[in-house]
Amino acid sequence: MNTLPPTDAPLAPPPSGSGHAVPPQDGLGHRDQVQQRITHLFRYSLRGGHINPLMHLVTEYRMGQLP
């Protein structure tokens, strides 16, 4: 019955934050990676044109975690 593989392969590279190591690279690379991950997470709201205040707050939080 269980013919469907889990949809759930981990992202490569892993998400920023949540205790996951981010491969070393320059600051700009980190910022792009964070922005990309957040855009991906919030794609439902972005596609539908819905406002989600968390997007701004989480972006600010993640950027603040960067070296």
Partner: protein, 280 residues
């Protein structure tokens, strides 16, 4: 694929094994303070696995206990009855379904998201002077309907997962499209079966569609906590997606930027230790 009728769902849920009797009593007593440490320790002593898991969580850095807790009575003395009740309930709920029976789901990712939501819900509730312990338990079970679907309705659930992947939509949208119901309805059914209070059943049922009111409720807390846990990507799934946030519910919480950041930080700081304790 024909929809799942409410009747079939209810009869399936009724046949599910109940949680351990001591946990049912704890759930029923949430919000009350009339259980003694000795009573709890006595009841738990018959379930060694649950006791061990409870002590593992009590000893995790989440609770920051300075010395090793080696018995339930000691845990109650150090952490207090309300906290230990949450710990026991969390230990039991995370062991209520078998990994191999829900193989359609990434079991660890499911619980990572649930634990993340629980931590965010507790932090949010405490920020708003609501009951953090109930909020934690609610966060943990808010998606429990997905586990029921993946375990007992495998074929339609498999179709829902295919639909979700093809349409890159939210899980509850795919479930509705394929099965004519979603995990919130299933969650409502199972939390009723497990004798959670009407407030908690409603919070599970409405976590994607809260009914905003002036004063935030536990249901509002779970809706926002679910959103935050997805926004922080705590499940670590590649296809994780943040659902729509109800703006009225969000505004009613009146969170400042500093408070939001504090909730994010606190949840992430506690996340690994709670996952380790509950997912071993």
């Amino acid at each position: 694929m024909s929809p799942i009728s409410k009747g079939i769902l209810v009869s399936t849920v009724r046949e599910l094994p109940a949680l351990p009797a001591v946990v049912m009593e704890l759930i029923e007593s949430l919000g009350r303070d009339d259980l003694s440490a000795d009573q709890l320790a006595g009841k738990l002593s018959r379930d060694q696995a649950l006791t061990a898991k409870t002590l593992r969580l009590a000893n995790s850095s989440f609770y920051g206990v300075p010395r090793k807790v080696s018995s339930i009575s000691e845990a109650v003395t150090i952490l207090g009855m309300r906290t230990v009740r949450t710990v026991v309930t969390a230990a039991a709920l995370t062991g209520s379904f078998k990994r191999q029976d829900a193989a359609l789901l990434d079991f660890d990712a499911f619980w990572r998201h649930s634990i993340g939501t629980a931590l965010c819900a507790k932090a949010l509730a405490e920020t708003m002077d609501l009951d953090g312990e109930s909020a934690f338990t609610l966060g943990l079970i808010h998606d429990i309907g997905r586990l029921v679907l993946a375990t007992f309705f495998r074929e339609p659930y498999q179709q829902a997962l295919i639909y979700q992947r093809e349409h890159d939509c939210l899980p509850h949208e795919a479930e509705q499209a394929v099965m004519g119901m979603d995990h919130t309805t299933v969650g409502e059914c199972i939390t009723e079966h497990w004798l959670f209070s009407p407030t908690m059943v409603e919070a599970v049922a409405t976590h994607h569609s809260p009914r905003p009111c002036a004063d935030p409720s536990l249901a509002d807390i779970v809706h926002v906590a679910d959103n935050i846990a997805h926004a922080l990507g705590l499940s670590q799934l590649s296809d994780e997606m943040v659902p729509p946030l109800n703006l009225q519910t969000w505004s009613a919480m009146k969170l400042t930027t500093d408070q939001s950041g504090q909730i994010f930080r606190q949840a992430e700081a506690q996340f690994d230790s709670v996952c380790q304790a509950l997912l071993m």
